[in-house]
């Protein structure tokens, strides 16, 4: 399971990386915004994307839209972990095809729960 973590704050990338390691996912890569993340996603064989929303350059929502528009990435599971907590924003992310949405600050259990649910859904559709 290869996972890409995208956040402009290195602190948050590290937190997510550590939590994933606790959950048994050790194959992770990092990017600091959508602009750097997209080429990595296009090139590498990532199975899962965890992204922040509010980032300079390309935002997480733009990255999500770009993924859904790409032949290669249109089915890539995308979990958004963000401080953007307005209803409209969550609806917009959902309409853009997000697989899960975690609002910061979050707990380890909440992240674990969302990740588990996403993987269960993937397995159910396969």
């Amino acid at each position: 399971m290869k996972i890409l973590i995208v956040d402009d704050f290195s602190t948050m990338r590290r937190i997510i990386k550590n939590l994933l390691r606790d959950l048994g996912f050790t194959n992770t890569s990092e990017a600091d915004d959508g602009t750097t993340a997209l080429p990595l996603l296009e090139k590498g064989n990532f199975d899962f994307l965890i992204t922040d929303w509010n980032m300079p350059g390309m935002t997480g929502l733009e990255l999500l839209v770009a993924c859904r528009a790409s032949t290669k990435l249109k089915t890539l599971p995308v979990l958004m972990v963000t401080a953007e907590a307005k209803r409209d924003q969550i609806i917009a992310a959902a309409q853009a095809g997000v697989s899960g949405y975690v609002v910061k600050p979050f707990t380890a259990a909440a992240l674990q729960d969302k990740i588990t649910k996403i993987f269960e859904r993937i397995e159910a559709t396969n």
Binding site: M12, I15, K104, A108
Partner: protein
């Protein structure tokens, strides 16, 4: 900010009204003469002059307030720099404006969060191995004790104590691990506070840009009104303004400059005469 520089909005408005009445009074006879003589062009010029003389006070006050605000922002930086201890003076001297100060906060919190997570990374495997070892040892210990055929009462008591201890150690190290995860999660404050600080940095930049625009507008208005003011300005400001009125940046060449930093802002303000 010196008291004498402060001028409230009401004072300013009152002053403008007074100036207008005083100018009107001074030019009353001339104005009447122009009107009676049907010299409308001269009368119109005179009215315009009177009107402008009252507005000049407002322009001066806008400029003065702008200058005071800018000085306050600059002094904020200088004060902190001067008060700094020698150890951090070098660091502080690099932080010449509010934006770099806020970026400094982001860097400091980021460093603190990373150091905390370094310790978590060190401690978590220790807690894990203590837990794994004590669980494994407990199994071995139970197997060893049950294989022993002859156990007296004293040994029996010791067996229970060691067994309970190994269970407690496993439970405690699991508790430590869970605390470490909480500590890790709490470092998310750095991201959240950082996002807020970044917004404030944008705000400071916007305020600064607006300040520069305001100074430019005020200087243009002054140019229209003419610097040869009839307005009674307070003595120390009068002195200052007379000196600044000759400043090089009122020339058209220097106005072409694009303001890009704090130094440019300082230069611009100084040369504009506020």
């Amino acid at each position: 900010m010196p008291q004498s520089k402060e001028f409230t909005q009401n004072e300013s408005a009152d002053h403008a009204a007074e100036t207008f009445i005083s100018a009107l009074r001074d030019h009353r006879c001339e104005l009447m003469k122009n009107l009676e003589g049907n010299d409308l062009a001269s009368a119109s010029d005179l009215i315009r002059q009177i009107y402008l003389s009252s507005n000049e006070t407002v322009y001066h006050e806008v400029g003065r307030l702008t200058r005071a605000l800018h000085d306050a922002l600059r002094d904020f930086n200088l004060d902190l720099g001067l008060d700094a201890s020698t150890e951090v003076e070098n660091e502080l001297s690099e932080m010449v404006d509010a934006r770099s100060r806020l970026n400094y906060v982001i860097t400091m919190t980021e460093n603190a969060a990373n150091k905390t997570m370094d310790r978590v990374d060190e401690a978590a495997p220790l807690a894990q191995s203590i837990m794994d070892d004590s669980l494994a040892l407990k199994e071995e210990w139970r197997a060893f004790v049950s294989a022993e055929s002859k156990i007296n009462e004293a040994h029996e008591a010791l067996f229970h104590r060691v067994d309970a201890h190994l269970s407690a150690v496993a439970k405690s190290s699991q508790g430590v691990h869970s605390c470490l995860t909480d500590i890790l999660m709490e470092q998310g404050y750095q991201d959240l506070s950082g996002q807020v600080i970044k917004r404030v940095i944008e705000l400071v930049s916007d305020v600064e840009r607006s300040l520069v625009r305001l100074v430019k507008i005020a200087s243009n208005l002054e140019a229209v009104a003419g610097m040869q003011s009839h307005v009674a300005v307070r003595p120390e400001m009068n002195e200052k303004q007379r000196i600044k009125a000759e400043g090089p940046l009122v020339s058209s060449a220097s106005r072409k400059h694009i303001v890009s930093g704090q130094d440019d802002v300082d230069d611009l303000l100084s040369s504009l005469g506020f």
